[in-house]
């Protein structure tokens, strides 16, 4: 078994055993507290540029399958786990998780005291790191390498992971068990254009599932080109990196506000916030997990939600006469969702499409449909 090392920019070095690919990768080291859903995490493009530490210590138990991919390939730079299973046990498993990552050339370090690492990141904040696997590794050199790697703050990654050409998405959500009785898809009544800043497939599946025909467009698409597609609604996706550099994207969204119903998720909310004149800032260690309580201030109910973000919109930067804050994180009071007071525009910072995570907030897709229904009714 080969050795692997995770070196952090602050000089910390964690040694372990290598699983996956024998390679070097650098990235921002972040942690996710979900117990299940590693495959979705691996393949979520929002993790581009990040080395992910999973707090749950037994990873790989149920293998990997084709259904649970959130994009075409894994996007994490590297994986840090306490224990990686040599055996996959599940009726849907096609291959071992180790193989799934190795074939995409992603290194894995196992045997690490991930709890100590997470406590370190929690107190010091997330930081840059290098994950290297293979023979004769030099911890000191790797620390230096980490220090030379680009910082996440100010890093624009969305356009790098985005689709390069528009495409139609047609697949809906499929069942994972004969006992999962999903609602049949309704007739496709709405055309949604989805900006791909690093979009997760389950968002697309959910849109299809609620009755949308979906055209995915690259992150660099202009508002005019979007309007030319004559959509009933515009969707702003999740994605990796710092939102601040996405000035072009924010400008396009600004042009669309008031013209089309808009729904944003995660980076989509941040871009919408920027478009509305707001600011974003970087959280110390972000929110990544599937158990965050979010209060919906309109229904006064708490939703258990799936999170993956390192940046967030500063609620004080939004103009209260335009924007109504609708969702608040009960753990740290950060902004989790808002809507425009005058236009059919709303967004959430967390992931209602789940994958991985609880389904408490799926209603937001229905809300989007309602807005489009109203807009359509109003226009005709």
């Amino acid at each position: 078994m080969d050795q692997a090392i995770l070196a952090l920019e602050d000089g910390s070095v964690f040694e372990g055993r290598s699983f996956g690919a024998l390679t070097h990768r650098h990235g921002e080291v972040v942690f996710n507290t979900s117990i299940t859903g590693y495959q979705e995490i691996f393949t979520d493009p929002s993790y581009a540029g990040q080395i992910v530490v999973l707090t749950y210590p037994q990873i790989g138990n149920y293998g990997a399958n084709q259904q649970d991919n959130e994009s075409g390939r894994p996007f994490i730079e590297g994986l840090v786990v306490r224990e990686f299973s040599p055996l996959a046990s599940n009726w849907r498993s096609d291959e071992q998780a180790e193989h799934f990552l190795a074939k995409s050339d992603i290194p894995v370090i196992a045997g690490v005291d991930t709890r100590a690492l997470v406590r370190h990141l929690r107190t010091r904040g997330v930081m840059r790191g290098v994950l290297a696997a293979g023979p004769s590794l030099d911890g000191k050199a790797l620390v230096e390498e980490a220090r030379q790697s680009p910082s996440m703050a100010g890093l624009e990654l969305a356009t790098r992971v985005s689709a390069t050409a528009p495409y139609e998405w047609t697949a809906g959500v499929d069942a994972c068990s004969p006992s999962q009785h999903l609602q049949p898809w309704p007739e496709k009544r709405f055309h949604v254009v989805a900006f791909d800043y690093g979009i997760k497939r389950n968002i697309l599946r959910r849109l299809v599932h609620t009755g949308c025909r979906v055209t995915v467009v690259p992150a660099g698409t202009s508002a005019d080109d979007v309007l030319a597609l004559n959509p009933d609604g515009v969707f702003l996706s999740n994605g990796p990196g710092d939102p601040e550099p996405l000035e072009f994207q924010a400008a396009q969204v600004r042009k669309l506000i008031g013209k089309k119903p808009i729904f944003g998720i995660c980076l989509g909310q941040q871009i919408l916030g920027l478009a509305l004149g707001g600011r974003t800032y970087k959280l110390k260690f972000g929110h990544r997990g599937g158990n965050h309580p979010v209060l919906n201030k309109i229904t006064n109910r708490v939703e258990i939600t799936s999170h993956n973000h390192g940046f967030t919109v500063d609620p004080d930067s939004l103009n209260a006469s335009d924007v109504e804050l609708t969702h608040i994180n009960l753990n740290d009071e950060t902004l989790e969702g808002f809507r425009h007071r005058n236009y059919p525009v709303f967004s959430v910072q967390y992931h209602p499409e789940a994958a991985p995570g609880p389904h408490d907030s799926l209603y937001l897709f229905d809300d989007f449909i309602k807005l489009m229904t109203e807009a359509k009714g109003g226009a005709r």
Binding site: R122, V302, L330, G357
Partner: protein, 1079 residues
């Protein structure tokens, strides 16, 4: 919706005595509920018949009624107290059933009591199998195909249609009581007959078998605003077919992807909403076909359950406490998470470790019961272990079990592998390991066990690592090799054995090489937020989070898994030790591995180490905490076994010193002490071989009591009436050695047994209580009813007992608690046994006297004197504490779970729990205790008597009393002729082998309401056993001793004159210094 202001006084219903399927987890939940509601300003009235619980401590409620959990007595409590609401969901199935019964009897309406926690409709929907199935179908969830039947014929019809095997579940019984798996027609008839009888509504659900499917459980909570969360997921190692209480279980679920888990989560929430649980916790069980992923919902409990206790301990999320708060109107997001302090309780705990629970069985105490597992729960306790990985947790859980077995499966029989893997049994995991040692593949073992391959691979990996270790020599040990082994959960003992080292030498070597245990925190959030609660478990990670304080601190060693003879009573003492330490300004550190207990609540002590009670694990904690003292006398035998080794390792033991504890256990040394003090004991001897044993028995004369040394609960203890029996016993029943000899005592026939609990500070001795046993000597003290104050012992004998107790306490240099057992035979007092530690009767005595014995004991261990506690003892520093009423403690037996077992009482303890009856006279107290024990004595009808020759004279007197009370008499020939000779009208009944209708037929036909059947001594005849079994099955009270029969007469007589009346402990003890009532 904040706290309700329209209710002020809340009645909490406890779960009664500890029985299989309903154990001290409900003391934990009830205690949490009491604390939470009182902290919120509610007045709490509590009813629970179990005196051994923390929840029935007078400090925990405003009014505490240790009274029978029946409609009549609960109504009396309600009439007196007029509560605004009744919380039904923290007292297990008993609490729920009583709540339903009170509602249906109109009592709640009559006194305008609102049911909170779960409404009647929700309870019925969840508990009634048919309603439940309909409800699930409505929301699109599958349940196994099934039919509810009330006759055997209908059941057989369904069996023919669906095919065997089939699962049978009687409606409204707890712990799967009376249920089972029928593999064929014959078994179907058998189980169905029993099940229809046991179900209070005479119904049994027959279900399609999902044997071998993956089994899961989700713990769910919901508030009035419809906020709902999953607290924990649990995956069973043992697939469907084994009761979840008897299964090895793992938290969180290990082999579900997120999609599959979320499907289950959605289903659980839909179930909760449909059933209508809107203010509390529930658990929902699922089965998944491992081949296709088809999922069925198995059942849901609309209340706090055994699994919720496990889930609370596994996650640090206090389900019962939160459930109580939700029941009084709070929303989940209005309650703070105790551990993080900043985040709300409205979230889903995420964990970064693996939890393993293993049940503990005691089939060895029930000869005749087949040690196989099915859908009826049979385990008597459980352990839980927390580790960073499944392997580590499994290793820790196994060594928490205290089965005396090592992890090596070298004593197993290869020919048994197939049988032991295919048929679930308590030894299955060991056989799985054994199979892997013998080279079986994962696929082979999976095929036979249906255990998920992921678990099997992890187990096999441990076995392989052990085998590799076995090839090493001590000098091969490196830091990396040891670390890998420790991370895989191998104990120091196991590694030491592998390399042929002394375990303590290995430990030293391990530490020298820098491999040390560190401690991690259970924090509900996988380290995302800071933890303010030192709830710790050990691991072999790099960084420790123990952060010990520099305060004066004392460590309490708990009692480990519940077992017969060592149960909740010891947890009671440990919890009190903790409370007392805190009160006296010391930091309390609890070490225990039993998830059912109050002691393992993170709220109970300043610091909690959820760890196995082995020398290795306790030393690891001592290394980091460096306690000023360790208390070993409260946790039963478990910590006592560690006392000397700990002391030798330099850990300070406070209270009675280990050497003196050992002195009391050592026959020869203790015999010398008794001689010196001039205290008589029955003639006795110590044998290490068969001939020696026979020789000793001849010398001291038969009958003799034979037992192994160092055991609790009378394990493997018998009364031998002749040499053949000694020979058989030595050959079959006991293992002995030079180090572990067999003890032989003269058995005192027809003696009265007495239990004494006393406190000693080194100078003064204060006796808590002199408890008179109702059953004569020969019945294990834990299985005998006893009464405070003693009611038939003469003043001079009491005086002698007091004198002996004082002498013994001083001679053994007792600091703290001591228990002595005496027997009085023809006016002479003998010492049977001295245990310089807290006994099983400590909670009972504390409640009867109103004096908290464990608290004072802790004070004494810290160097205080009895006179410092005059404020608690009514000024007494010597003599015997008075009791203001009659208090009878009665045992509760699990015989209904073990078909085929003879329920006759004997020297081997078999009761799982106890109840207390309170009365103004002995008869009233005894009668109430019998009601609480589930064997209420009849008020009229017929009594069946069959007694052995020694008892015939006494039988006449008892029969006459029953006759005078208007009972008819039935008796077998011998007994009948004596009764007739005494002029009593009596019907003669055939013995079982004489013809029909015989005694069993009479019981089945409900012709007799009470059975008095004393043993013939020596060994048990099938006839006797058949009658006693029938009594258990048909729930006819069966008394097996004449002293018990005499007590029954008094109870029945009392019932005629005394009204239904109840007293709260607070009012009983309101006046501290009261005189003892006269008998």
């Amino acid at each position: 919706m904040p706290r309700r202001t329209d209710i002020h006084r809340i009645l909490i219903v406890g779960s009664g005595p500890i029985i299989i399927g309903q154990a001290c987890e409900f003391d934990y939940s009830g205690t949490q509920a009491c604390k939470a509601l009182r902290a919120d300003g509610f007045e709490v009235v509590l009813i629970n018949s179990n005196p051994a619980t923390i929840m029935t401590d007078p400090e925990l409620a405003d009014r505490t009624y240790v009274e029978p959990l029946t409609v009549a007595y609960a109504e009396e409590v309600i009439r007196r107290e007029r509560p605004d609401a009744l919380l039904s969901t923290v007292g297990g199935q008993t609490g729920l059933n009583l709540a339903v019964a009170l509602a249906e009897a109109g009592v709640l309406d009559k006194y305008d009591v609102e049911l909170i926690g779960a409404k009647i409709d929700s309870i019925k929907k969840a508990e009634d199998r048919l309603l439940f199935k309909d409800a699930m179908r409505k929301i699109g969830l599958e349940t196994p195909q099934s039919q509810l039947v009330n006759t055997v014929e209908k059941g057989l019809e369904f069996g023919t249609k669906i095919g065997y095997p089939l699962i049978l579940r009687p409606s409204f019984t707890m712990g799967g009581s009376g249920g089972g798996i029928a593999y064929n027609r014959e078994e179907m008839i058998d189980i169905l007959e029993r099940g229809i009888d046991l179900s209070p509504v005479g119904e049994v659900l027959i279900e399609e078998s999902v044997l071998g499917w993956k089994e899961y459980e989700l713990e769910v909570m919901r508030d009035q605003a419809d906020n709902a969360i999953i607290v924990c997921s649990i995956e069973n190692f043992d697939p469907m077919g084994v009761h979840t209480g008897d299964s090895i279980t793992v938290a969180p679920a290990q082999t579900l992807s997120d999609r599959e888990y979320q499907m289950m989560r959605d289903a659980a929430l839909a179930c909760l909403r449909e059933i209508g649980v809107d203010t509390g916790g529930s658990n929902v069980q699922f089965a998944i076909d491992p081949a296709t992923g088809r999922m069925v919902i198995v059942e849901m409990n609309p209340r706090v359950s055994r699994s919720s206790a496990l889930a609370s301990k596994a996650t640090g999320f206090p389900i019962a406490k939160i459930a109580a708060k939700l029941a009084v109107g709070y929303r989940l997001d209005e309650i703070k998470n105790d551990i993080t302090k900043v985040t709300p309780a409205c979230f889903e705990p995420t964990i970064d470790y693996v939890v393993v629970k293993i049940p503990r069985f005691q089939f060895e105490k029930f000869p005749g019961a087949e040690p196989v597992l099915n859908t009826q729960m049979k385990s008597v306790g459980e352990v839980m272990a927390i580790g960073r990985t499944f392997q580590q947790s499994l290793g820790k859980a196994l060594r928490s079990m205290e089965t005396g077995k090592s992890s090596a499966a070298d004593v197993y029989d290869e020919a048994q592998i197939a049988n032991k893997l295919i048929t679930p049994n308590p030894d299955r995991l060991n056989y799985i390991r054994f199979a892997f040692e013998r080279g079986y593949t994962i696929a082979q073992v999976h095929e036979m066990t249906a255990v998920d391959p992921w678990f099997l691979e992890r187990v096999r990996d441990i076995v392989l690592q052990e085998q590799q270790m076995d090839l090493l020599e001590p000098e091969d040990l490196t830091h990396d090799i040891i670390l890998a082994a420790k991370r895989a959960g191998l104990s120091d003992n196991r590694i030491a054995r592998a390399v042929d080292m002394d375990p303590l030498d290995f430990r030293a070597r391990r530490k020298e090489l820098g491999v040390q245990a560190v401690f991690n925190r259970v924090d509900t959030c996988a380290a995302e937020f800071e933890s303010f609660t030192p709830y710790l478990y050990s691991s072999y990670e790099q960084v420790s989070e123990a952060d010990p304080t520099s305060r004066p601190k004392v460590m309490i060693l708990g009692s480990g898994p519940n077992r017969i003879g060592q149960g909740i009573e010891f947890d009671y003492a440990c919890c009190h030790a903790s409370f007392a330490l805190q009160e006296f300004g010391h930091e309390s550190i609890m070490v225990n591995c039993n998830p059912e207990t109050v002691s393992t609540d993170y709220d109970t002590s300043d610091r909690l180490y959820f760890e196995p009670l082995t020398l290795e694990d306790v030393l690891n904690i001592a290394d980091i905490e460096k306690p000023d003292g360790v208390i070993v006398q409260f946790g039963g035998q478990t910590p006592l076994n560690l006392a000397l080794p700990l002391k030798h390792a330099g850990v300070p033991i406070i209270g009675t010193q280990p050497e003196n504890i050992d002195l009391a256990e050592d026959r020869k040394l203790f015999g010398a002490v008794l001689d010196q003090l001039g205290i008589p004991a029955p003639d006795n001897g110590t044998a290490t071989n068969v001939e020696e044993a026979c020789e000793i028995a001849r010398r001291i004369g038969y009958p003799v009591l034979v037992r192994p040394s160092y055991v609790l609960g009378g394990r493997a203890m018998v009364i031998a009436y002749g040499e053949d029996m000694i020979r058989r016993y030595m050959a079959e029943a006991v293992t002995f050695s030079q180090k572990r000899p067999v003890l032989i005592d003269r058995f005192l026939e027809d003696a009265t047994e007495v239990d004494v609990d006393a406190l000693c500070d080194g100078d003064d001795v204060l006796i808590g209580g002199i408890m008179e046993h109702i059953e004569e000597a020969g019945v294990h003290s834990g299985d005998s009813s006893c009464v405070l104050p003693a009611f038939s012992i003469g003043a001079s004998e009491l005086q002698t007992i007091e004198e002996y107790t004082v002498k013994l306490a001083k001679a053994l240099k007792v600091i703290g608690l001591m228990n002595v057992q005496y027997a009085i035979q023809q006016g002479k007092v003998y010492v049977l046994e001295v245990n310089p530690r807290a006994s099983r009767t400590v909670p009972y005595v504390s409640k009867a006297t109103g004096v908290p014995l464990p608290k004072i004991a802790v004070g004494l261990m810290l160097g205080k004197k009895l006179k410092d506690f005059a404020y608690l003892t009514g000024g007494r520093t010597s003599g015997v504490l008075p009791v203001p009423q009659f208090f009878v403690k009665s045992p509760v037996f699990p015989f209904n779970k073990f078909p085929g077992v003879d329920p006759a009482l004997g020297p081997e303890m078999r009761s799982t729990g106890e109840v207390m009856g309170v009365g103004e006279n002995f008869g009233e107290a005894f009668g109430k205790a019998q009601i609480s024990a589930g064997t209420p004595l009849p008020e009229k009808g017929s009594v069946f008597l069959s007694v052995n020759d020694r008892d015939k004279a006494a039988a006449v007197e008892v029969a006459r009393n029953f006759h005078d009370l208007g009972f008819q008499l039935h008796a077998t020939r011998g007994t009948a002729s004596i009764l007739k000779a005494a002029g009593l009208p009596c019907k003669t009944v055939f013995k079982v082998n004489e013809g029909r209708p015989n005694a069993v037929d009479l019981i089945k036909a409900q012709t007799v309401q009470l059975v008095i059947y004393t043993t013939t001594g020596g060994h048990t005849f099938t006839d006797e056993k058949a009658i006693r079994r029938a009594a258990v099955t048909w729930r006819v009270p069966c008394i097996t001793t004449m002293s018990g029969a005499r007590a029954a007469v008094q109870a029945v007589a009392s019932k005629r004159v005394d009204p239904i009346r109840v007293w709260s402990l607070q009012e009983i003890h309101a006046a501290k210094d009261v005189s003892t009532p006269s008998a």
